[in-house]
């Protein structure tokens, strides 16, 4: 048993360098309990709170005055609000997908990333969920989209993709929260046991539901967790397919191709991995977690980012191809308008940021350099936003009858909502890193154990 605790220098490529289990617990569990960098955290929280305030103001004025404060008009009845919604929900899809998919494929390296990836998902979905409500002309009636007994004896119109989205998003949010929480319970127990103060003990004690880590607990817990993962994957796909339907159910040119659902799902994964990469790099350097989030993690992230990026690019190509090949004059007009029309900048920005930039990831050096990875992740984020903007605006502003062609220019209040939701996202995320274990403690230990077993057999060979 001695060798199990020994740290083997020439162990094979490891996800996590060998170290005592306790050090893992300490490194992670101590962050919520004895937060290392309060000042920086407070500054960060202050700034993000400022933007969250802007969001509150923007929504308040919106409810007072009406959606007319935005740049929307006829024919561009949808503007930034919808683009932001699709963008956020895209980010929101990644966390759960990464976590669940990699769990099912038993990719151990996931264990250092899944926790904050899932947290990111929750907050992104929360931001996304704001838009469908506030973009309504009469937001105070948002609940009319839900099936509930009412005096008008009316139901939602189940053929409408908006209703699909309501179901998909609400359920996705619930499932993500459950998935996140179930995965969190054992670590909460760890923090509970580490906690010295009474408050901490009670707080984490209650949250951990009295988890004891008994064999039976672990067995059933594991079944459930994998089960949720298995369901979460198709759920994510369905959610973003639903979002794609929001457009492709209409008959407008540029929204029709059957590739839309997969195209959107890929884009969602892509942007999600982008954020995860960024966050991984930031947390890693901020909290000195190099030993838990290793270069190998970054390398793998880079590869996945590249892969999903190329799939998204395939979506671009097929979308363009089908539009051209259909021979439909309106489809073609929209396509060429995207290439060279008034909003071509949004199209080319998307192509460059989402396709050209990620080509750097072919090179290991780039993938393993945190800085590079961070910037590429950022470019993907922005690129995907441009794509959503392009998809919404270019189709609407030039539709069938030239007489109703128009323009779209976003107003201050449009942008305020985008900035505000980003602020809200960081606000929530900062609270998360402050109060919850941001990396799955027990799962890292699991990895450690297996590597120890390997390590033990290494010298004997």
């Amino acid at each position: 048993m001695a060798d199990e605790r020994a740290i083997n220098p020439q162990a094979p490529a490891q996800t996590v360098p060998l170290q005592p289990y306790a050090s893992v617990s300490d490194q992670i569990a101590m962050i919520p309990l004895h937060y290392p960098l309060r000042r920086r955290w407070l500054i960060g929280l202050g700034i993000s709170a400022l933007f969250t305030g802007l969001l509150v103001v923007a929504i308040g004025y919106l409810f007072y005055a009406g959606v007319g404060i935005w740049g929307i008009n006829s024919p561009v009845f949808w503007g930034l609000a919808i683009a932001n919604y699709v963008w956020w929900i895209g980010l929101g899809n990644a966390g759960t997908l990464i976590s669940a998919l990699l769990l099912l494929l038993s990719q151990q390296w996931r264990n250092s990333l899944n926790r904050f990836a899932e947290a990111m998902t929750l907050f992104a979905v929360f931001c996304a969920a704001l838009f469908p409500i506030i973009h309504l002309g009469r937001p105070w009636f948002f609940y009319w989209l839900l099936p509930y007994p009412n005096v008008m004896a009316l139901w939602p119109q189940f053929r409408s993709p908006l209703v699909w989205d309501v179901f998909a998003n609400v359920i996705y949010l619930l499932v993500s929260i459950i998935f996140f929480y179930i995965g969190l319970i054992p670590d909460l127990a760890t923090v509970r046991d580490k906690a010295r103060g009474r408050v901490g003990q009670v707080f984490f004690g209650v949250l951990s539901l009295g988890w004891r880590g008994s064999a039976a607990h672990w067995q059933r817990w594991r079944r459930t967790y994998r089960f949720c993962a298995a369901l979460a994957v198709p759920l994510v796909v369905s959610v973003h397919s639903g979002v794609a339907m929001l457009f492709s159910v209409g008959q407008l040119a540029g929204w029709q191709t059957t590739i839309f659902p997969p195209y959107f799902v890929m884009g969602a994964m892509f942007s999600g991995f982008g954020v995860v990469a960024m966050i991984a790099v930031v947390l890693r350097s901020t909290f000195r977690l190099d030993s838990l989030v290793t270069i190998r993690h970054l390398d793998l992230l880079g590869k996945v980012l590249l892969a999903s990026g190329l799939m998204t690019s395939y979506g671009y190509i097929m979308d363009a191809f089908t539009a051209w090949y259909s021979g439909d004059p309106f489809e073609r007009a929209t396509l060429f308008d995207r290439f060279g029309g008034a909003y071509a900048w949004s199209y080319w920005a998307a192509v460059i940021l989402n396709f050209v930039v990620i080509q750097g990831l072919w090179f290991g050096a780039v993938r393993r350099d945190p800085m590079w990875l961070f910037f590429i992740g950022a470019s993907v984020m922005i690129g995907m936003w441009f794509e959503r903007y392009m998809l919404v605006v270019t189709t609407l502003y030039h539709d069938f009858l030239p007489s109703s062609w128009g323009w779209y220019v976003a107003t201050f209040w449009d942008w305020a909502l985008l900035a505000g939701t980003i602020g809200l996202f960081f606000f929530l995320f900062l609270l998360f890193v402050r109060f919850l274990p941001m990396i799955s403690i027990f799962e890292v230990k699991e990895v450690l154990r297996e590597e120890r077993v390997e390590a033990r057999h290494a010298p004997s060979r």
Binding site: G68, G137, R138, F141, W144, Q157, G250, P402, S404
Partner: protein, 1002 residues
């Protein structure tokens, strides 16, 4: 007998409010103050609690002023103004008025009463049936029994008249030196005035009046002349057709009205005569033309139209061949035309013509020669009298006179002698010969040509009296101002353009207690107690022999039977050779100064309608601009001067200059600048003030219509213009289909419906459908305003139109084909909701707010709508309109009185669109069910359909194979817009038939 209920029973109004005494000062601040300042000043003024409550209730909205300032301002100010206004209105005696259809004894709430009356446009009666709900006129329809052609329909102006009635900015009180005065005080003044006038036989009394067609008023004016023989009557109509009378005077030796008979005309050659453009005769001409067109759409013998014009008009848009030439080329063209037709030899100088001009003249002359007796040579009313005279000779020589054109004694009071022109008055005032000036209706301070310096000269007159609807520019220069009653609230009479005497009876008590013009004149005559009603009866008892039954019949019909003007076709006097046509500028294109021409605005006319928000926001037929007038120039000129649409330019004419935005108008003569009048007013009211620029500032009495030697300079500033259509061409689409005469005659190409996965929903009993014949649409916009009046459609203001948020339920799309300099074709397409049977919008709605009705209507359930705007995004025709802000609900109580009680007023955040006037369908269904019969064909008439002067729109039940709409759908020209989307619209179109001349068969 209908005892008309008082109008001032609308909610937040308390007649006892004592704000009235401050109105005068209020008005002055109104003229000066900005929005907020004015608001404050009002607050200070207000004494009444109602007003305070109103302020509290409305104040939140004031914060929005920056958003949609003019419009909100209108809302905000209206009610407080009204509190004062109503305080000023006294008790009116109950006169007897007869409702048109329903028995007046029962004034059933929710049941409309219809009164046959008329509104006035340039003094001419526009016969209407006024729909009133519990004493409030809400909508005007044409009077189908009226003998004038097209009287059953209306133009945009008549539709907006009901808004004018409720205009909160109408003057509300008699004022003396800007202070509230009383009618008695005014009458007192007239007593002294009369004594003086009796001594000098009225030598120093001048009366300025616009066109008068009212028999009663003419009688009164005759009495006035008799009483004061020296007094002088001056006539002034800023647009008018005075030159026509000059022309007939030259040709026939006496002033005559010219009446076209387009139903007989196979060929029309028009030199700048905007026959189908806005004006008193638009409806009549459109009806005559469409009558013949409808008769001949099958055999293809359609009226052929050849137009030469300097600036595009609706007439030019209909023409087979158009020639763009400077306005001042017209006499030369006419001379050649006449010469080649053998009239007035010696005038021909073909050498002076360009290639294009020669070609056009040859075609036109050929057509006229080939259609002797059934052709018509029409000349713009603004062209020189000599030219007019020559045109009359040509029509006479070709035997057209009496068939396609007839003449009658002037319907209006003719102003042919220089002595009675405005110029004479201005000079007399300058010479100090005028002691007393009475201005009846006219607004010369704003509309008089700049060179007359009217305002200053008028200030020398020692007693100035103004009577008008508004406290306008002229009123502000007068000692006395008397508010006149609106045609819809007063007793009067007037003649329609065809001469038929029409009766104006009040549909509501005078809202602001104005005085009828008859009462004002009567006062001058010393008849202090005469009421308009008595004066009217006096006139007509004389004609009808005091027969009470006959009088009732007249009120019932709204017109006097057989009172149409006697028409004749006199022979011209003298020889044509005398007519000198030496005038004329070098052929267009050659290096010469620019030409500035003046035209009335197609929506606010000469400015008299500039406070009517409906007309301000009505897209001009050709430019699709709203809320502004422009300097229209040709693309070439724009390139030359490096001007783009919206660039401000300075136009200098004879030393006077004005600045305004330029607009590039396809089909504009290269070196002609069109100045649209009617804007840049300072005292129109809160809607009209400050909109556009004042074209009268560069107009001269010598050359009121076309001036050579104008100069245009770029100022470098850019002005914001609000247009409702940014893209002018169809980009290769066939949204507006055109066919040659031969194609049109071909058999119906029975297009099978594209296959679908969906089940066939049955509409066994009623399947409502609309059919729009683009071959009959002249793009006059009557349907748009009619729809707005019927369906409580809000006005959103310039900023919102600019943002692309106009609310019109039916729009008229305008497309050009061909070059920018001279488009081959200008096409119009009215676009209401298509009511698709497989509607994309309904699928998008998550809350069942837009669903399909059992009769195939695409219905909006306003109170269910949450405003996701998915329906509008999915709509391929973009006919849905969204309330981005609270547009309607905060309108002033006064404007709310105009609302159609059968149509929901839509709140903020709610989608809306054309409903096929579902309220009218229900009304018809109720009637039918009461009588236990199905709804008859033609029983349901939509607002747009009833207004359309050419009957281009037909609505009905397509489940009934014999219905009008079903028969329309059998036309070989039937087609569906965006058919490939398989949305299966209920609204379908008939293709436009191209003029032979233009499809190469000529």
């Amino acid at each position: 007998m209908a005892s008309l209920p008082p109008a001032n029973d609308s909610p937040s109004v308390d007649p006892t409010a004592k704000v009235a005494p401050d109105l005068a000062t209020l008005r002055h601040r109104l003229a000066s103050g900005t929005g907020r300042r004015f608001w404050r000043s009002l607050e200070d003024l207000a004494e009444s609690d109602d007003f305070r409550r109103f302020v509290e209730a409305e104040f939140p909205a004031a914060l929005e002023l920056s958003e949609t300032s003019r419009r909100n301002f209108l809302r905000l100010m209206a009610a407080p103004m009204m509190l004062g206004g109503l305080a000023a209105c006294g008790d009116m005696p109950d006169e007897k008025a007869l409702p048109y259809i329903n028995q007046p004894e029962i004034l059933v709430p929710g049941k409309a009463l219809y009164f046959a009356t008329a509104t006035l446009f340039e003094g001419y009666a526009q016969p209407v049936l006024a729909e009133t709900h519990v004493g409030r006129p809400t909508k005007l329809e044409g009077n189908p029994d009226h003998p004038m052609a097209g009287a059953g329909t209306t133009d945009a102006f008549a539709q907006a008249a009901v808004l004018e009635l409720y205009d909160p900015d109408r003057s509300r009180a008699i004022t003396f030196l800007g202070r509230i005065a009383t009618w008695d005080a005014f009458q007192g003044v007239t007593v002294g005035l009369r004594d003086r006038l009796r001594e000098n036989k009225g030598g120093d009394l001048r009366i300025l009046i616009d066109t008068v067609t009212s028999p009663t008023l003419r009688r009164q004016l005759d009495d006035l002349r008799a009483a004061f023989p020296q007094a002088r009557l001056h006539h002034f109509e800023p647009v008018g057709a005075a030159l026509r009378h000059q022309g007939t005077l030259r040709a026939f030796g006496r002033p005559l009205d010219v009446h076209y008979r387009l139903e007989n005309a196979a060929v029309i050659v028009s030199l700048e005569d905007d026959i189908f453009g806005p004006g008193p005769s638009q409806v009549r001409h459109a009806a005559q033309w469409s009558q013949r067109r409808r008769d001949h759409q099958q055999d293809g013998d359609l009226t052929r139209l050849h137009v030469a014009e300097s600036t595009p008009t609706l007439t030019g848009a209909l023409a087979g061949t158009t020639l763009n030439a400077a306005s001042q080329r017209m006499p030369v063209l006419l001379a050649n035309l006449a010469g080649s037709l053998g009239v007035g030899e010696g005038n021909t100088a073909e050498a002076a013509l360009t290639q294009g001009e020669q070609a056009w003249v040859r075609t036109a002359a050929g057509e006229l020669a080939a259609h002797r007796g059934i052709g018509l040579l029409a000349l713009g009313a603004h062209l020189p009298a000599d030219a007019q005279a020559l045109a009359h000779r040509v029509n006479h020589a070709l035997g057209n006179a009496g068939v396609t054109v007839v003449y009658s004694e002037p319907v209006g009071l003719a102003a042919t002698d220089e002595a009675s022109a405005l110029l004479a008055l201005a000079e007399a005032m300058a010479a100090g010969e005028v002691e007393t000036l009475v201005v009846l209706g006219a607004n010369p301070v704003y509309t008089a040509p700049a060179d007359l310096d009217f305002a200053n000269r008028m200030d020398r007159v020692s007693l100035r009296i103004h009577a008008g609807l508004y406290y306008d520019e002229t009123a502000s220069h007068c000692h006395w101002h008397i508010p006149l009653t609106h045609p819809l609230e007063s007793w009067s009479d007037a003649r329609a353009v065809d001469g038929t005497a029409s009766m104006l009876q009040p549909t509501v008590k005078p809202l602001f207690g104005g005085k009828s013009v008859h009462e004002v004149v009567a006062t001058l005559l010393g008849q202090l107690n005469a009421t308009a009603y008595d004066l009217l009866r006096e006139t007509w008892d004389a004609c009808l022999g005091g027969d009470e039954k006959a009088w009732r019949q007249v009120l019932n019909d709204g017109f006097v039977a057989d009172s149409v003007a006697q028409t004749e076709a006199p022979a011209p006097q003298g020889a044509a050779a005398e007519v000198s046509l030496a005038i004329g500028v070098p052929a267009s294109g050659e290096a010469s100064g620019l030409e500035a021409i003046f035209r009335p605005d197609p929506c606010v006319w000469d400015g008299r309608f500039s406070n009517l928000a409906w007309l301000q926001e009505l897209p001009k037929p050709l430019t699709k601009l709203t809320w502004d007038n422009v300097l229209a120039i040709s693309a070439r000129l724009a390139e030359g001067l490096d001007l783009g649409a919206g660039d401000e330019a300075e136009l200098t004419v004879k030393g006077r200059s004005v600045r305004g935005p330029v607009w590039i108008l396809p089909g504009q003569a290269e070196r002609t600048i069109t100045v649209f009048l009617g804007y840049g007013r300072s005292r129109a009211g809160r809607v009209g003030d400050g909109a556009g620029f004042n074209g009268y500032a560069v107009r001269t009495s010598a050359e009121p219509w076309a001036v050579p030697g104008a100069a245009l300079r770029r100022t470098g500033k850019r002005l914001r213009l609000a247009t409702t259509q940014n893209h002018a061409t169809m980009d290769g689409g066939d949204f507006v289909r055109t066919m040659s005469v031969t194609e049109a005659r071909a058999a119906h190409p029975d297009e099978p419906l594209a296959p679908t996965f969906y089940p066939q929903w049955e509409y066994p009993k009623y399947a409502w459908a609309m059919s729009i014949d683009l071959d009959l649409c002249i793009g006059c916009n009557a349907c748009v305003v009619a729809c707005q009046a019927e369906n409580n459609i809000p006005v959103v203001g310039k900023e919102q139109v600019e943002a692309g948020r106009e609310m019109h339920w039916i729009r008229v799309d305008r497309y050009y084909e061909g070059g920018l300099d001279r488009p081959d074709r200008t096409l119009f397409q009215p676009l209401p909701c298509m009511h698709c049977e497989q509607a994309p919008c309904e699928v998008g709605c998550p809350v069942n707010a837009t669903v399909h009705g059992p009769e195939g209507l695409n219905q909006m359930v306003y109170n269910r709508c949450v405003g996701t705007r998915t329906c509008a995004s999915y709509c391929p025709y973009k006919v849905r309109r969204f309330n981005f802000f609270e547009y309607a609900a905060t309108d002033s109580p006064l404007l709310q009185a105009q609302r159609n009680p059968n149509v929901t007023v839509r709140a903020r955040g709610v989608m809306e669109k054309c409903t096929y006037c579902v309220q009218r369908i229900s009304a018809a269904r109720i009637e039918a069910q009461k009588e236990g019969r199905p709804i008859r064909d033609g029983e349901v008439v939509t607002a747009c359909q009833s207004a359309c002067p050419t009957q281009a729109i037909v609505f009905g039940n397509q489940a009934d194979p014999d219905s009008g709409v079903s028969r329309r759908q059998q036309s070989p020209r039937q087609y569906t817009l965006l058919r490939e989307l398989n949305t299966r619209p209920r609204t379908t179109y008939q293709a436009r038939i191209l003029d032979k001349a233009s499809d190469g068969e000529a």
